[in-house]
């Protein structure tokens, strides 16, 4: 019996694979397995290769699997591209009609099944996917009833006849495998049957926004962020909110500032190109001290880059982008489940620190399904709505006009003063991106400029949030530092590093990217070697750490920027090299393993000079 299996399906984009995979993942989750599902896809609608991989396990999994146990292929291209990733002895199931050939040197059993013929007999081309599901269930020893039950609820609205056809197709696929390969089984231990949630990060962000009191969303479609607004536009009619598809990202962010100025909780969601366009207005939010929340689902950049590929290369833009000096808070989730309370919290931070709060999600968190424990999504465990310093309407009513100072020197411990909202009598003020005095009116006085600049920057010196989370052994020899999608692989690498080296390893998850929580990072790393793992080419977080005063001599790094996810194996190999004293900076990807590199955060500048 296996604790986990990895199932992969490859075919042509637009051929219904999305819903096949959705069924497989949902049924697996309902059977009580933990699911981590990822995919390769291109920026096109129809045609081109796509593959979906689902790792299901009786324990929590949050990283790509080291190999595939069961590969289902609907075309030869999928075999050529995916067969190299199978575990030795894996099963590759192909349609008899494609005359499948296994590339040389692959240790796997290629089995063919008359999928086309059976589909024709069933009379509906869509049934090929259900045959495949039934066959997969048989190989994995999963009860076919779970698939049938889900099909009934999922397609019940299409009529009994259609559902019956789906059931028949699933059963035929199942029976074919049982009859032809009775001995071949990848039996996985039974799931615990516990009810868990399965969602993508963009759905988690939408849930967090709902719980966090966000009722206005202004955004522009972009991969891989669109599902955030798409989820909220479905949810909002239940709670009176509004999600507007704006004409561009310039409008989206300024609209959020308008809603934030009015007192509502506003959010926009975008990816790298949108972040570039929003920079000017982020300065406006900082200057006017207006709360705003921005989710950035990072993808391969710069420019159009690789819109459907993983990267974590917007950190500099999120923390320091735009002209002038301005405060921001940048958070990063370490899992899909974590994104729910983190997004809700982002609104509290924005309302309390009166500056933009950005969530650095990334493509793999944004779009890949992960199991979410019910506890992570409990409404009662979400942060309570805390609207931060607000002027008291009764108090203001008792004053005359021109008494209330929006940018008053009477600030709280965060350096923030109460704001008034439109509708509050005697609270009128000017919120302007131009430098201004206490009432918001424009002034260019030198003394006022110094006060105002210090006032704005001071607020992020001490951001009250859970900045880091530590996992693994105490007194570790090596601490892997990561954020976003990378955290899952880093956590799974701990045991492998320890087994391979005999040394102790830990993972420090960075939840607060900016301001860089350097003191806390130092406190956790202590004398260990700190290895930053990030999906970008210039070591952006390492650069930020160095800028925040972290000792560069004790900073090791592993970078990957080929668009694929960092794996457990890569982190283990880099950690072994670091512990063996083989080098300080490593890269991986692009068809090559972990290899030594120069420090990109320094050498780029040095080479110029």
């Amino acid at each position: 019996m296996l604790k986990e299996v990895c199932w992969q399906i490859g075919g042509e984009q637009g051929g219904g694979l999305d819903s096949t995979v959705e069924v497989f993942n949902t049924v697996a989750s309902r059977a009580g397995y933990y699911v981590y599902a990822y995919k390769t896809f291109a920026s096109r609608i129809k045609g081109g290769h796509t593959d979906f991989t689902t790792r299901l396990s009786t324990e929590r999994v949050q990283a790509p699997a080291a190999g595939v146990n069961l590969l289902v292929t609907l075309d030869q291209e999928s075999i050529d591209l995916c067969a190299r990733n199978v575990y030795p002895g894996a099963i590759i199931l192909a349609d008899e009609a494609i005359n499948a050939k296994l590339p040389e040197g692959i240790d796997a059993k290629l089995l063919t099944m008359p999928l086309n013929k059976l589909t024709l007999a069933l009379g509906n081309p869509l049934m090929k996917n259900n045959l495949v599901l039934g066959a997969s269930a048989a190989f994995l020893g999963m009860p076919i009833d779970g698939f049938k039950t889900y099909a009934t609820t999922r397609w019940g609205n299409k009529g009994e006849e259609f559902v019956a056809l789906i059931h028949k197709s699933m059963q035929e696929g199942y029976d074919y495998v049982v009859a032809n390969w009775p001995e071949l089984r990848l039996e996985i231990e039974e799931g615990d049957g516990k009810e868990r949630l399965l969602m993508i990060g963009n759905e988690a962000a939408a849930l967090g926004a709902l719980a966090g009191g966000c009722r206005t969303v202004f955004s522009y479609p972009i991969t891989p962020a669109s599902e955030i607004a798409e989820s909220l536009v479905k949810i909002f009619p239940k709670v009176g909110g509004v999600a507007v598809q704006m004409e561009d990202e310039l409008a989206s962010i300024v609209a959020c500032i308008g809603a934030g100025f009015t007192g509502a909780r506003a959010m926009t969601a975008t990816a790298g190109p949108g972040i570039s366009l929003m920079q000017e207005a982020m300065g406006l939010a900082a200057m006017t001290e207006t709360p705003v929340v921005i989710v950035d689902t990072q993808r391969g950049g710069p420019s159009t880059g690789m819109p459907t590929k993983q990267e974590q290369s917007d950190l500099m833009a999120l923390a320091y982008g735009g002209h002038g000096d301005s405060p921001r808070i940048v958070l990063a989730p370490g899992s899909v489940g974590e994104l729910i309370p983190m997004t809700a919290e982002a609104f509290n931070l924005a309302d309390n620190y009166h500056c933009p709060v950005l969530i650095a999600s990334d493509l793999a968190i944004a779009l890949f399904q992960q199991t979410v424990e019910p506890e992570e999504a409990k409404l009662s465990s979400m942060p309570q709505i805390n609207r931060g310093p607000l002027a008291n309407p009764e108090e203001l009513a008792g004053l005359a006009r021109d008494v209330f100072q929006r940018y008053s020197k009477q600030v709280n411990e965060n350096g923030v003063s109460a704001r008034s909202l439109p509708g509050i009598k005697n609270g009128q003020f000017l919120a302007t991106g131009a430098e201004h005095g206490a009432f918001g009116k424009v002034t260019e006085s030198a003394a006022n400029r110094v006060y105002m600049m210090d006032r704005r920057m001071r607020r992020i010196q001490n951001v009250n949030t859970e900045a880091v989370r530590y996992f693994g052994s105490e007194n570790a020899d090596i601490v892997v530092i990561g954020f976003g999608t990378t955290v899952g692989a880093a956590k799974e690498s701990i045991a492998e590093i320890e087994a391979a080296t005999g040394k102790k390893a830990g993972v420090l998850q960075i939840r607060l990217i900016y301001p860089v929580p350097v003191a806390q990072i130092q406190a956790y790393v202590k004398g260990a070697k700190a290895m930053v793992v990030e999906s970008n080419a210039t070591g952006q977080f390492s650069f930020m750490l160095k800028g925040a005063g972290y000792n560069p001599a004790n900073l090791y790094s592993l970078l990957k920027y080929d668009g694929t996810l960092i794996t457990v194996e890569e982190i283990r190999n880099a950690a072994m090299a670091v512990l063996n004293g083989e080098g300080q900076y490593f890269v991986s990807g692009g068809g090559q393993g972990v290899r030594k590199a120069a420090d990109p955060t320094i050498t780029l500048a040095a080479q110029e000079a």
Binding site: L198, G241, M246, G258, F261, R401, K425, N426
Partner: protein
């Protein structure tokens, strides 16, 4: 009841003496007084440029945004709190050059705000360059040999893009401008109030006297039907947009807000934001 004094501020103006924007500001304040609006219930979003400084001189809730983006902010202010009177204001460069993309979409979206444009057909604050509404052949610092581009026809554009209230005023004709702004604010949907607001420093062609001699006033024409879209387009085309009055009004305008599913009459800011268990569980159910 608020008075004119209640809508004024003590700020000394940065506008040049004689600037058309003084007249637009005064008409706006008068219209707000006559509509019995209170300063705290008015939100004014302004863009960048001379006219964008208007927020310094009117006592209301003022948001002064980045160049060209008053409309996205103003629409959002209204959606966040539809109990407010929401105004957007700016110049011809702010609205029809850098902000043109937002203008087109605000027109067709039809959120219930009033957009007051102070059109002087020149860039004033940057000291005299051509603007998208400058006439062909117009000599400026950036067009020393005369403007070789055609001018934007913002009022025809508005009608073509589905705007339900298109009006134009002259900053020195206070009586008409006050009436126009009042009706624009009362209009259920996006209302465009273009104004010719002369730049006395940099535009020596499109002066008060120029407009007084050239403008055709549809409000003085009893045969003019402001509900007739085709007549409005013809009028604007025939007179090169040198027309004042309420040029077009759609009697059947439906606000964006009224079409949003589940949207409430109470401002979002005044609602309770906590989610109840039933709603939360219903939403979560789709991920099980």
């Amino acid at each position: 009841m608020a008075t004119m004094a209640d809508f004024r501020t003590s700020e000394k103006s940065w506008w040049c003496p004689g600037c058309g924007d003084f007249g637009v500001l005064a008409a706006l304040q008068k219209a707000l007084v006559e509509l019995a609006t209170e300063p705290e219930n008015v939100a004014l979003v302004a863009g960048i440029g001379c006219s964008g400084k208007i927020g310094n001189y009117i006592n209301s809730y003022n948001l002064h945004v980045v160049h060209g983006r008053s409309l996205p902010a103003a629409q959002a202010v209204k959606l966040a709190n539809r109990e407010l009177t929401v105004l957007a204001a700016g110049g011809d460069g702010d609205g029809f050059a850098i902000g043109m993309g937002h203008y087109m979409h605000a027109l067709r979206r039809n959120v219930d705000i009033t957009y007051v444009v102070m059109d002087n057909q020149i860039y004033g604050l940057t000291k005299g360059q051509t603007s998208p509404t400058s006439d062909g052949g117009f000599h400026t610092k950036s067009t020393p040999n005369g403007n070789i581009e055609k001018s934007v026809n913002q009022m025809q554009l508005a009608i073509a893009s589905g705007c339900g209230f298109v009006a134009n005023g002259l900053s020195s004709n206070q009586k008409q401008l006050v009436q126009i702004i009042k009706q624009a604010i009362q209009f259920p949907g996006f209302a465009l109030v273009n104004t010719y607001s002369p730049c006395v420093t940099f535009n020596k062609v499109n002066t008060y006297d120029f407009y007084k001699s050239e403008l055709v006033n549809v409000d003085e024409d009893p045969t003019y039907d402001r509900h007739d879209k085709f007549a409005a387009m013809k009028m604007l085309m025939e007179h090169n947009e040198l027309v004042t009055g309420i040029i077009y009004e759609d009697p059947n305008s439906t606000r964006y807000e009224d079409l949003v599913k589940g949207f409430k009459p109470e401002g979002i800011v005044n609602q309770k934001w906590e989610v109840d268990d039933e709603t939360w569980n219903k939403v979560l159910a789709q991920y099980k």
